[in-house]
Amino acid sequence: MQKLDVRLKQIPMPELPVEKRLQTFDEVALGYSEEQALAEAARCLQCTHPLCVEMCPLRIDVPGFIKLVRQGNYVEAAQKIRQENCMPAVCGRVCPQERLCVLGCKNVIGDPINIGGLERFVADYELETGVTIPDIAPSTGRSVAIVGSGPAGLSAAAELAKRGHHVVVFEALHEPGGVLTYGIPEFRLPKKVVKQEIDYVRRLGVEIKTNIVIGRTLTIDDLFDEGFKAVFIGSGAGLPKLLGIPGENLCGVYTLNEFLLRVNLMRAHLFPRGSKTPIRVRGRVAILGARGMDAARAALRLGAEEVCIFYQRKLVGRVDDIRRGIEEGVKLQPSTKPVKLLGDENRWVKLVELVKLKPGQPDKTGKTKLIPVLGSEFLYSAETVVIATDHVPNTVAAIKTARNVKVDEKRRTIIVDPETLMAADGVFAGGDVVSGAASVIEAIKAGKRAAQSIHAYLMKH
């Protein structure tokens, strides 16, 4: 039995020291050692009505897997999670646990359990020792096409493969993984881990075809003509939204997606020797928008002198990652809004003009809008600017190429039946392309739910 004072405090996750972080893109959170994992697992109260489970979108049996950790059965613990979640090593790292499972664990004595840290520990352990492939149902002779290889597409693919269907995933980019591959940086989610998790999905029998843009290379109707009996669209919300202010097409101005694509997918941080794709980060970097923490931390690692995020209300991201970014030197300026960007004679960005914001009069519902403070305009000099506001769904696949799929014109999302996730006869959709930008775990959940309805649909057709 642990002593009470030990029990109160969460075992801290070991991290790369701040001074070392900026010289590398290596992962910052190092993961628990076996000893640390056992100590953290020992803190769990094994609640009979565990709120942690309620708060996990996939209802992972948290006390159950933690119990296995305590017994030293790490592989079994991982398998328990993997039954519900095909990517535990990813979720352990990137789930916003403080709003999910860990929030549910608030009512124990002392700090909540670091559930993500333990999930990651067992998942990494299993990946190292080799993942065993679960039993796969006998072939049903039916084929399903999946559009997009992000978490939604991959989880749908994994579930359907386990049920004996033949599954082919089509991915537009040259590497699978969606945001896990092109969006979330190496220092938060090593690409090696993503590759291992995708390998697991492949080993379930799923075929992944890259470099195929559905809607261009093949249409959804083509897929049906080729014999696929159902299609799942998990094409994500990867389209950037611009600010609509003067100067945003100046040289040196990136969208968040371009910045992250160059770094994560194209490995521009290794330019010119390890990668042929360049990126320009010089001097001071202004990040415009609440989604900018990943870009800000990447910019510091690419040699920026100073990086400042300008945003309105609240940064998007996990608390741990925001804390780490601030430790690394990312500056924050809330309650501000860019007005225009100014360039030099060669059309390179030089200055960002911003305005301060304050809460306006509350409306009928009591909500206040932020309004510009008159005369509070100020300038920030920057040689690189990243626009990190919103993303909209990528519906290239659906528009015009699929039978009767409807798109919400305003939100740009695919309209589905909320229960079955069916968008049209035989066509299903889920993840960010339906919800708008959300989270990895919600995308995995949508993929699983769609797989259930696709399975039911296939058994009837």
Binding site: E258, L261, T277
Partner: protein, 279 residues
């Protein structure tokens, strides 16, 4: 094998033509569309126009000039080699309709694209005048093919080594001043040429289509690297284009954005050439 080079020809110094096995792209390709390719595992993604496609044999034809690290690396591949990644067809297809009398203009490496467009416009019955230009005579690719195809061909070189000394836009200007009429002018080539052509046709209010060469990464509308201002609005060349109304394009902005990585491009060539691998 997919992405395998099945034919290679040097059309002129540093200009190569390649036929590549890509049955899915060949089946869907339309005039004016392009592919994005990566030569190697650590390679950059670069766009190249589809110059020809053969759905029956499952091949596509690309023509490129070796200007930087990626195109030089591509030029080193031979028949039997495989291009690491190849995706397409991308971009909106061009409009191929009966306009009547059309002027097709191609400059430099883009003469290949101009030839492809002239062929399609001719096939459906347009009367086609072509003006092509290059720095020097030996760079005039597709000259003979065009001569046999179009109703009238004008040739220019910067140095006067063949045809008229000057630019294709000068020839167009002369034609319009002498009273020639066109229902459409289609221009593809260096930005400076497309800009000059658009300026020449503007006072005559002739519909002018240009095919832009913005920098690209994904080519599917995800990154906005290829954005360009057209008629005051921001467009993405890879999905809204690559063809736009030349009278509305902000060419100055486009040219500045194309120079964004000048220093890095030089560095990439240096690294490539200094790598010690003498082949």
């Amino acid at each position: 094998m997919e992405n395998e080079i099945v034919y290679k020809e040097e059309l002129a110094p540093e200009i190569k033509l390649m036929k590549v096995r890509a049955p899915l792209i060949a089946r869907k390709a339309k005039s004016g569309q392009f592919v994005i390719l990566r030569v190697s595992e650590d390679g950059e993604r670069i766009p190249l126009t589809l110059i020809d496609w053969d759905p029956k044999n499952g091949t596509i034809t690309l023509v490129f000039r070796e200007v930087g690290a990626t195109t030089k690396e591509l030029g080193k591949l031979n028949v039997g080699d495989v291009i690491h990644d190849l995706v397409g067809p991308l971009g909106k297809p061009g409009e191929i309709t009966l306009y009547g009398r059309v002027c097709v203009i191609g400059g430099g490496i883009a003469i290949a694209a101009a030839y492809e467009r002239a062929k399609k416009l001719k096939e459906i019955g347009n009367n086609v005048v072509a003006i092509i230009g290059a720095r020097t005579a030996e760079q005039l690719i597709f000259r003979d093919e065009l001569k046999g195809l179009v109703d009238k061909l004008y040739v220019t070189t910067d140095d006067g080594s063949e045809g008229i000394k000057g630019y294709p836009s000068d020839v167009l200007k002369g034609l319009l001043e002498s009273g020639e009429k066109f229902n459409l002018v289609y221009a593809v080539g260096p930005e400076a040429l497309m800009k000059a052509v658009s300026e020449v046709t503007k006072p005559y209010k002739i519909k002018t289509i240009v095919s832009l060469n913005s920098l690209m990464v994904d080519g599917t509308g995800m990154c906005g690297c290829c954005r360009v201002t057209v008629g005051g609005k921001t467009m993405f060349t890879c999905v809204d284009g690559p063809e736009f109304d030349g009278h509305l394009v902000d060419f100055e902005e486009l040219m500045a954005r194309l120079r964004m990585y000048e220093e890095e491009e030089k560095l990439a060539i240096k690294v490539m050439e200094g790598c010690g691998c003498r082949s």
